[in-house]
């Protein structure tokens, strides 16, 4: 068993945030502090219980760790109340970097670079990078690039969104 995994990191982050909010609550009026401080205390205690569940006495351990659900036995997802649909023909591909990791990293890069130079210019690059990673056909890549760039353009032209300007290019184009 790993000593430290992503769930532990998540719980530690929750504890850290809750602790900050509990301590920070003393800077505010009582009416502004009571709710966040109460919730923070609850989160700290609950998170500690789960973090150290393997050391808890059995009855407490069961309460902390035992799943309970009225749902049919399916994996949780977001679509309509938390179940994922059975996927008939889909399969997971094997690769050194998971596809989800790549997509997550690509999203961050899209955000940061788009904020810096303008989303209109980065969006086609995002689409092409996505297509390259997943070995998509040229037609599909063109379709994705067109659709996504069109979204950015529509926002710029009809809703005056400043997606053609970034923090670094503001002085150049405007």
């Amino acid at each position: 068993m790993d000593l430290f995994d992503r769930e532990d990191a998540f719980l530690i982050a929750v504890i850290a945030l809750s602790s900050y909010m509990f301590v920070g609550g003393f800077d505010y009026a009582l009416e502004s502090a009571i709710f966040p401080q109460t919730v923070a205390v609850f989160l700290i205690i609950s998170s500690l219980l789960i973090l150290f569940k393997r050391f808890l006495p059995r009855p407490v351990h069961l309460f902390v760790a035992k799943p309970f659900s009225l749902r049919p036995d399916e994996e949780e997802s977001m679509s309509e109340g938390a179940e994922s649909e059975p996927n008939g023909g889909m399969h997971e591909q094997e690769r050194s970097v998971k596809n989800s990791t790549f997509v997550a990293a690509l999203m961050v890069a899209y955000l940061v670079v788009g904020y810096l130079i303008g989303f209109l210019y980065v969006t086609p690059l995002f689409a092409v990078a996505y297509g390259k990673w997943f070995d998509l056909s040229r037609q599909i890549v063109i379709m994705i690039t067109t659709l996504t760039t069109l979204i950015a353009l529509v926002f710029i032209l009809t809703l005056n969104a400043p997606f053609d300007i970034g923090v670094l290019t503001r002085g150049i184009f405007v």
């Binding site: 909010m21 919730v39 989160l43 679509s79 649909e85 904020y115």
Partner: protein, 497 residues
């Protein structure tokens, strides 16, 4: 009673205005389209377009979104029947008999059964809701600040036992959502809390960013791990519409029963259509012991499709009355209401009763559109089931990120939506309920405001929370919901069950 009739007439006038009606129909068509695509479904479809509805009139926006939900319930059945892959979890039970029926060369029969059952049950559900609304109004008016706080806690507690995973994890997810809502302006005193002196945080964390992050972004990240064709043994659409409709009309009692199951379960926060369809299917099997299910029995499709569309209307009851969503799609609708300045609660059954009835009547009209589409155009929609997710994923990601800027002209919201997408992935992986998290974010403001107001009204004492019979009942319900699942096995062992 005259107020109800006036509101109904006003609602009728509103939904048939051309600019409103067009969005109603577009909502159904868009909903059927997103429902057809496995991996997308109503919640993602609604989340992706939610920020864009900011620029519509509030009524048009709400009717557009609610009819996406309604249309998607039928769209999900199309995928379930034709490719044995439900477009949304609510249609999972439809695959049991729908796909086998399609393989027998009766795909059109199955699709017309699904369309007719959905429409009839949806129709019945809305009529039931309108008829029951006077009672509902009286019930909602009993709620004061303490009761509103308690029902918010009850709603969160119910989610944690309905969702998968340990109860404590569900409570942590909900609590985290509640905590994040305390960033920004406090509801009562003029304190600006936990902003790290970042101006953009003074308005708080955008609940729409959180919702789109955990519903759309998380789901797209998850979907990207699965590659290959979604379409599974695509079926040629053959058979007859008339036979399907005849079948439905000869099972009116089954439709009624399934609709009532859908209405009852849909009104429970967090339950959603999935549970109602499985319960309805199980009941159909139980009450027809001489029949075989699972190999193309039309009653199997009738029971599931009737239940899931009936759920759409009833999930609005806790949503509109108390601001507690009946499911993921209702959570998105609730976000839309708040975004457009419409506050759930007693006003939805008083000054804003015409909005509530507009929503109900639009579902009635939407069900007619479903029947028309289902019986005439469904073969066209069947092509949508073949759409490659590699097209959907980048489009939804770009749309979700870019549209977030439009709500508050705030670049920070774009980063927030991605951050919540990552939080959603971690929560999913480790059985923390994202529905509870979203509910916490949506209810946090309401819960805190009513908590503080209740304490102020009782001069600093907490007896406001057990001062009325209703508040005591709510307290008991919260305790039972949280303690019951832990104590139940022990009690069963003691009793010898």
């Amino acid at each position: 009673m005259s107020a109800i009739v006036d509101a109904l007439l006003q609602a009728g006038e509103i939904i048939f205005k051309p600019d409103v009606f067009i969005w109603l129909v577009l909502g159904v068509l868009f909903g059927i389209s997103v429902g057809c695509i496995p991996g997308v479904g109503p919640v993602i479809g609604m989340s992706a377009v939610l920020p864009l509805t900011f620029f519509l009139e509030p009524i048009s926006a709400i009717l557009f979104l609610i009819n996406i939900y309604s249309g998607a319930m039928f769209g999900a059945a199309i995928a379930a029947i034709l490719i044995n892959t439900p477009g949304a979890p609510a249609a999972a039970a439809t695959t049991f008999d729908g796909y086998p029926m399609a393989k027998q060369g009766k795909a059109m029969d199955a699709l017309s059964i699904a369309a007719s059952s959905s429409a009839l049950a949806g129709f019945f559900s809305v009529v039931f809701l309108i008829a029951a609304s006077p009672l509902l109004i009286e019930f909602v008016l009993l709620f004061g600040s303490p009761e509103y706080f308690l029902i918010a806690i009850l709603g969160l507690s119910l989610i944690t036992i309905i969702a998968r995973g340990p109860i404590l994890k569900g409570l942590i997810a909900g609590g985290l959502g509640l905590l994040l809502t305390t960033i920004g302006f406090a509801p009562i005193k003029p304190d600006v809390r936990y902003t790290f002196d970042i101006l953009m945080l003074s308005d708080g964390v955008s609940f729409i960013a959180a919702l789109i992050g955990v519903f759309a972004i998380t789901e797209m990240i998850k979907l990207s791990n699965k590659q290959g064709g979604i379409a599974n043994d695509a079926i040629e659409v053959s058979g007859t519409v008339a036979e399907g409709v005849k079948t439905v009309l000869s099972n009116k009692l089954l439709i009624l029963k399934s609709a009532l199951i859908g209405i009852g379960i849909g009104a429970i926060p967090g339950a959603g259509a999935t549970i109602s369809t499985f319960v309805s299917y199980s009941e159909a099997v139980r009450s027809n012991p001489d029949e075989t299910f699972g190999d193309g029995n039309s009653r199997g499709i009738v029971s599931t499709e009737a239940a899931n569309n009936a759920t759409v209307g009833s999930s609005l009851i806790p949503t509109l009355s108390f601001g507690i969503p009946g499911g993921g799609a209702a959570a998105v609708l609730l976000a839309a209401l708040i975004m457009h300045g419409i506050r759930p609660g007693p006003d939805m059954f008083d000054a804003n009763l015409f909005i509530t009835y507009s929503i109900f009547l639009s579902l009635l009209v939407g069900n007619i559109v479903i029947i028309v589409v289902g019986l005439t155009l469904v073969t066209k929609f069947s092509y949508i089931t073949q759409v490659d997710t590699n097209i959907i994923i980048p489009v939804v990601i770009v749309l979700s990120i870019l549209s977030m800027y439009l709500i508050r002209d705030n670049w920070f919201d774009m980063f927030t939506v991605v951050l919540f997408g990552f939080i959603g992935i971690v929560m999913l992986e480790h059985d923390y309920s994202v529905i509870a998290f979203v509910l916490g974010i949506i209810l946090g403001g309401i819960a805190e405001e009513n908590l503080i107001r209740s304490i102020q009204l009782s001069d600093g004492y907490v007896d406001a929370f057990y001062g009325t019979a209703l508040s005591i009942l709510l307290l008991i319900a919260i305790v039972l919901v949280l303690i019951g699942p832990i104590v139940a096995p022990w009690v069963q062992r003691k009793v010898g069950l």
